[in-house]
Each structure stands twice: as structure tokens, then as C-alpha cells.
Symmetry: C2
Subunit: 269 residues, 2 copies
């Protein structure tokens, strides 16, 4: 601790302003101006300037008691993303049908530059609410939905990812050296799907297949999830086939609609 005279002040003013958004969480959805000043370490004037800019953009909104909460523009931007997203549009119907037919939870994930995100889901009847849901971030190296995406990234990206995350990759059982890593991914690629148990949520079995655009680039994945005990090993291959079939249908649909937005993430990791 260097004393509380110049606390956090890291990054540019742009970063500091955007950093304010990070304090708004489900645990603490509303912040008083005073607490924000204390937290940010900025002066009163400066903080008000940030708040004004964020309010003008609609990212924050004033609520009773001199407090602030996340603003309407976020919901609006999310809608824009939903309407543009070929994975949601093309994958939704097959995913819903797959979930209905199998009785398991369905989920649709999208690869971004910095994260794999769940963008749509069908919770199975009786599954804990909010187990998966739109807006949940997922690790790149764990869980079927992420691994099956990873396996289809172009080689030069995998190279960069490997040198940057080699310990994480080894810990995830994807190989301790480059050859083992490449090989593990090749196996997933050849299978056309990925099955994992308890990697993202304990005791949960996941099966996922990749989603491609017209150029054959991975955009995301379509999968199902359930308690591992409900699917005996013997039943898994047939289930994987159904997931892959749904994913193929999703690809067909997604290529037809919204081609201009079917762009894969770049600079992944």
C-alpha cells in the first residue's frame, strides 16, 4: 500500500470511466454517488463528469436515493446484438427442437475475441434455474461448448493461444506440449463434437458441436447439458449424432440469414 492519497487511478480517463461499469453487479446493483467517489478515488467533479457521460450514453441511469444503476442503452444494445447475431437466429430453432426432443437443457455459445459466451439457452424442466443463461461467460479451455470451438480455430491462432496459456491448457487436459495439444484438438475435430463431464459445472455432462459460417470459420457452438448420471456411456454416441445434426441444421440456417454479420472473432485469447 502506497497510502490512500493516489489510489486506483490506473489507465486513461477513458478506462477509468468505463471501469465504473464493473462495480455494478448482481450483488451490488445500485451505487450512491458518494460510494462511487470513494471507490474510484477520483475527485467529485471528475466522477460527476464520468457519470454524466455514462448517463448521456444511457449506460447508467439515476435512481432514487442519489444512486445509480445500469441504464437502458445496455438492454437496447443487447437487442441489437441479438437481432444481428446469426448464431442466435440460425441456431435458436434447432437448439430448441433438440432440447425438446431429448429433454435436456440446450445452449448456444458464441466466440468473442475475449470470451466464449452463452447467447441462448433452454433450461430443461427441473434443472436449476439460471444454470446456463444468455450472458454467462465461459472459460475457453473447459467445457464441451468451448473446447469444440477451440478445436476449429485456425492453426496460427492456436499457436498464439498455446504459448500464452500453456499452463491453463495443460491443466485442462488438452496437452502439455504443442504436439499433444494439436493432437487433442485434431481428435475433437475428427469426431465433429466434444463431450465433457463436470468441467464447467460439477457433475454436468455436456455435448457440443461447432457452428460455422459460409467460409467454414467457427462462430460458436450448439450443445446440450444434463446431470452426468442421466446419460449412460452407451447412450452418448447416439446423442452426439443428434447434437451434430442440429448443429448442421443451424449452420444451414445461419448461412442463409444475416451473412454480413457472420464474422468470426479475431485476436482470440
Amino acid at each position: 500500500m502506497t497510502g490512500l492519497s493516489s489510489p486506483r487511478r490506473s489507465g486513461s480517463s477513458l478506462d477509468r470511466m468505463l471501469g465504473l461499469l464493473d462495480v455494478f453487479t448482481t450483488a451490488a446493483p445500485a451505487w450512491s454517488t458518494e460510494d462511487l467517489i470513494r471507490y474510484s478515488g477520483a475527485s467529485r467533479s471528475t466522477l460527476y463528469r464520468y457519470l454524466k457521460a455514462l448517463q448521456a450514453a444511457g449506460l447508467l441511469s439515476p435512481v432514487a436515493g442519489g444512486a445509480w444503476m445500469l441504464g437502458p442503452r445496455i438492454i437496447e444494445l443487447d437487442r441489437t446484438m441479438r437481432l444481428c447475431d446469426p448464431v442466435s437466429a440460425g441456431g435458436g430453432p434447432p437448439m430448441r427442437r433438440l432440447a425438446a426432443e431429448t429433454g435436456f437443457s440446450g445452449l448456444l455459445c458464441l466466440l468473442f475475441s475475449g470470451a466464449v459466451m452463452c447467447v441462448d439457452d433452454v433450461p430443461a424442466a427441473g434443472a436449476p434455474a439460471g444454470l446456463f443463461s444468455r450472458g454467462q461467460k465461459r472459460p475457453l479451455f473447459a467445457g464441451a461448448a468451448s473446447k469444440v470451438i477451440l478445436a476449429h480455430l485456425p492453426p496460427h491462432r492456436l499457436r498464439t493461444l498455446f504459448v500464452k496459456h500453456r499452463t491453463t491448457i495443460a491443466a485442462a487436459g488438452l496437452g502439455a506440449d504443442w504436439d499433444a495439444f494439436r493432437n487433442a484438438l485434431r481428435l475433437i475435430r475428427e469426431a465433429g463434437h466434444c463431450v465433457t463431464i463436470g468441467e464447467f459445472q460439477p457433475g454436468v455432462l455436456g455435448i457440443a458441436a461447432p457452428l460455422f459460417n459460409a467460409q467454414g470459420e467457427v462462430l460458436g457452438s450448439l450443445g446440450i447439458a444434463t446431470e452426468a448420471g442421466r446419460v449412460p456411456p452407451s447412450a452418448r454416441p447416439a446423442l452426439a449424432e443428434r447434437v451434430m445434426a442440429a448443429a448442421r441444421e443451424a449452420c444451414t440456417r445461419l448461412v442463409e440469414e444475416q451473412p454480413q454479420a457472420a464474422r468470426p472473432a479475431r485476436a482470440v485469447g
Copy 2:
């Protein structure tokens, strides 16, 4: 059109950076760096600085072809809002039941400082997809869902709103002077609901009732919508009763859960 009157260099750097988000729309979901430079009028260095800050915050994400799209943080923040929002949590189930029982579309609106937003909806079978949906902004002075909220704002807010928007208010048929305005709202308040036809979408009839927190402050509204022809005037009072009953149930639920986030917007308008 005044030609190239794009918003060049207005406001602070904070405003200019956040203004970049506005160009990402359903019509133009992906922008190349070059186009963003041209559009914003900033220098290459400056624009890259903005992009870097927005990317670090996750609001923008790089995609193939040197382009940018809206980023994963938006979906994540939307999820935070959804999970915190007492109106969605408390109003969802009654709204869904009401929609199922009546066969009409259901919608749930939330009042923000700068806007009334639809935060949840059930499209009726056969209704045009996306007629209403989460993330759609609505005018404050038109449509049952908005008007019924307006009617329950505290007097001093109405005063400010009236002087600021008197022409809009008069055009919306809510009264040309302060007394007429107060009176129009009092009638809505006494009825406990509001019925409108074709104010937000042509030919669409809407019925909405207000949602309050434990302190009796308006947070939003719960309503239904359908083609006006499907509901003869004689059937409307009974329907309004059902909407109000659903809204009452929503209030009960909403007061029980998430009390810390049940704060009304302030500085409305």
C-alpha cells in the same frame, strides 16, 4: 440532409468515445476501422485509442476483416440487469400467465430516467415476430404501457415534465394546459389502468396497469397488446380487470424479492 453532418468532434473525448457505440445498429452491425475513422473524424491514433478502451471494457470486439462489432460485455451487463431487475423477476410469471390465458401478447415495461423500455414480452401466437421485445424503447407520452406509468409519477416530476414537453403532451391528447394534464392523469390513476389504440403501433390495442415497489413508487407497467379488432369495446372492462389483477400479483412478488434494487428512476424526462 445537410450532407456530411456526421457528429464530428462534439463533446468531450469521453462522449466521443461512447458515441462510437451508436453507429452499431442492426442495419450496420460491423464497421471497419477505416470507416470508423472516417465517420468519427478523429485521427487514426485517437480512434485506435478509443477502440482499445472499448475493447478492454468488452463493449466492442474485433471480428474478421479488420472490423468491429458490439462486444460480450454488453450481453453480460444485460444479464446483470435482468437478474437484478425486480420488475422482470416479479412481473414475468404473472405476465406470462395473463398472456397464456387471454391469448394476447404480454409485455413488461420499465421506467428509466431517459426512457420507458420493454424488458420482457410474450409474443402471441401469430403475432408479427419482434412486434415487442426486450430492448425496445417506447415514448413516454404514447401507448398504454407508458401512460399508466406517467400517471403515477409524483406531482413535482409531472410539473417538470409538463413544462419541458408541453407540445408533445398536448399532441398526445394528454391536455393542453397543466390542469387538463393533471386531470387526464388523475382519470388514469383512478381507473387503475390505461387503454390505448394505435398510439405506439398502428391498429394495436394496449391495456396496461402500473407496477409499484413497497414504498408505492412506480417502477414500470404490465400489459397486453393485440389487434384492436379482436377486442370489442364491451369486452375491454373485463380484460382490464385481469390486467390489473396480474399487475397486483406482480407487485406482491416484486416486493418480496430484490428489495434493494426496487428503486424508481429519478430525473425522468
